[in-house]
């Protein structure tokens, strides 16, 4: 591995090569080890300022980025949509340029519009890290998913990964698709035809509307939350029918191979996309994902923060 990191921004996995993705994962290995020390802090970003700019609400991702930045010794401030000037009519560009004028080095952006991080990255000297843009990409979530699979199964190439649920509105699904395919996995998307349109097949994945057909051959199942807030209308008749057709119930979990990993980016709707006991079962690596997210985000901040001037 001779890849050197050259990007000031992390906008998505579609634009990264397999080498670049692997380089981030290897860098994360080193940072994961930091988390096991008594003093969980390194001086890599000392003197740098990171702004967590969350235009769309988030707890998990924002906390993870904040903690990652603190462990790298960066100064961190958090801005949400309601506390920013966006509510006063200031444009995203102006808000971001003001933050840059305050010498922000890294901007972590969560936004409801696809492409918003790229929009800012093209206009700022600061690093822009995409913490989720609309239904487009959520690269650090996919990286931590890849990290977790690699950690548990030692490789990704050749594995069969099923991503189940609301794919159409999911940035987690898109980033996972791009990353998994680049690293050689086979990907099947599962869900109702309204949320998993066949257009996705053109991305190089398989599409199934029958979960029972997919579970027996899966090495990983990644369950996505049904995102009510992103859906303008009825995409399926109701939660009850969703569970009946696509929920990972106890019965269906029996179809899984014993070593199949069960993943979920959270927050979980217990009893909807996944049975409560299955979520807490031995195959579940949901909390490992959260822990690994910290290491992966430290790696991303370290790499991009080292490029920005």
């Amino acid at each position: 591995m001779t890849t050197r990191w050259t990007r000031k921004d992390l906008l998505g996995l579609r634009e990264l090569s397999a080498d670049e993705i692997n380089f981030i994962l290897e860098t994360a290995d080193a940072f994961k080890q930091v988390g096991t020390r008594e003093i969980k802090k390194v001086p890599a970003l000392r003197g740098k300022t990171l702004v967590n700019f969350f235009v769309e609400p988030s707890t998990r991702t924002r906390t993870s980025f904040e903690l990652a930045a603190l462990r790298l010794s960066a100064d961190v401030i958090n801005i949400s949509a309601t506390s920013s000037s966006l509510t006063k009519g200031e444009t995203l560009k102006d808000t971001a340029r003001n933050l840059e004028a305050l010498h922000a080095d890294i901007l972590v952006l969560r936004h409801s519009s696809a492409g918003a991080p790229q929009f800012l990255a093209n206009r700022l000297r600061a690093s822009v890290i995409n913490a989720g843009d609309g239904a487009h990409e959520h690269p650090t979530q996919a990286l931590l998913d890849l990290y977790t699979i690699r950690e548990k199964r030692e490789k990704i190439a050749g594995l069969h990964v099923a991503i189940i649920g609301d794919i159409l509105f999911s940035r987690v699904a898109r980033s996972n698709i791009f990353g998994l395919l680049k690293l050689g996995a086979r990907v099947t998307l599962v869900g109702p035809s309204t949320l998993v349109p066949c257009e996705f097949e053109k991305l190089g994945v398989e599409v199934s509307h029958k979960i029972e057909n997919v579970l027996p051959s899966a090495d990983v199942v990644n369950l996505l939350r049904i995102q009510h807030e992103r859906q303008r209308r009825e995409y399926f008749p109701g939660i009850g029918e969703y569970i009946r057709l696509f929920g990972l119930t106890k019965e269906r979990a029996k179809l899984l191979k014993p070593d199949c990993l069960i993943m979920h980016p959270g927050p979980i709707n217990r009893g909807v996309e996944i049975d409560s006991d299955v979520a807490d079962g031995v195959q579940s690596v949901i909390l490992d994902q959260v822990t690994n997210g910290l290491a992966v985000r430290m790696a991303v901040l370290y790499l991009c923060g080292g490029i920005a001037t």
Binding site: K93, A114, G115, P197, K202, R233
Partner: protein, 427 residues
Amino acid sequence: MSATILRNGRVIDPANKRDEVADLLIVDGKIAEKSEVSGQKSEIEEIDVEGLIVAPGLIDMHVHLREPGFSHKETIESGARAAAAGGFTTVICMPNTSPAADNPSTIAWIKDRAAEAACVHVLPTGAISKNLAGEELSPIGSLAQAGIVAITDDGHCVQNHEVMRRAVEYARMVGLPVLDHCQDYNLVGNGVVHEGYWSTLLGLPGWPAAGEEAIIMRNILLAELCDHHIHCQHVTTAGSVRLLREARSRGVKVSGEVCPHHIALTDEAIQNFDTNHKMNPPLRSQADVDALLEGIADGTLSILCSDHAPHANFEKEVEFDAAPFGIIGLETELGLFFDLLVHKHRKIDIVRLIEMYTVEPARLLRINAGTLSIGAPADVTLIDPDLEWTVRIDKFESASHNSPFDGWKLRGRAVRTIVGGKTVWRL
């Protein structure tokens, strides 16, 4: 008497089936016969136009001049200058102003402003429905008396088929064509880009082709029911072309227009989230572009236009979802259509291109324009069909710069625009 003679140009006047190298004489703002001037040669301005096409002044029947209400985007004056620089002597402006052009006093204001400040003819359209809301009919008869040339809710689309039916019936009574922006709001929802591969990849809300085709279909049915003309604005999909072709073959009074961006670009262009590729209807797939080209070639799509939609930089410099739809086009459309339709794809010849910009819109709108007949107003566009040039948005006459074509190299453009015998713009 003032007289001008254009010497040795290729005079193309599709209305009179004329295409020959000849002189064109203009006397007192009208096209004249040679015999009308004799002697006093010194009083005649002579312009050598050898190698140039002498065409009737071009008509763009779909522009947004933004006044009243949005003069930071464009004014009637700056929009008219942009039209002249693009080779247009007549533009038809859309009613989605503020206030909307749904009342006679706004129409009067636009006409006054155009008379004072515009260097080309500006002909207003009126709204189909009050405040473009699609619910109650605007006073279409009063608007006709105030001088509109058509009704349209452009930018919006009357969803209630019954309201649309009554509008078409009423327009027939007052002799106005109906222009329609075809968009089914339920199917399109919050779509911002063509629903297909790129919307799936980028996670941007999709605007499905069926959202246009459903309303094209509706308009075909209503044109038949009401026996009156409905013109479908900015047609973009293969399905729309197929529907219009079939209906026109049966003699139904429907027609369609094409904008240059819908044949110059596909939805692949949106992948950088550049808001100058965001327009409504959106850029479509290659299959749709191919169908539009065939529709132009076989006459299904009979009119070319720009949908000139100026927006200020600060309005476009925002997140993709938040940006307004639309791009400007007056100063690039002739070059793009010449380059793509005549030179590159060879879908139509120069004569047909000029016809689609003159005779076709003039006939639809029943206006006295688009011909070089003796006695007609001397609105003339001189075109260099082979001139190679580069689009430079910083050279635009328009008050706005929202164009995706900056830096494009094109072949063919207008070099002089004459309105009522007077040169209003030259390269």
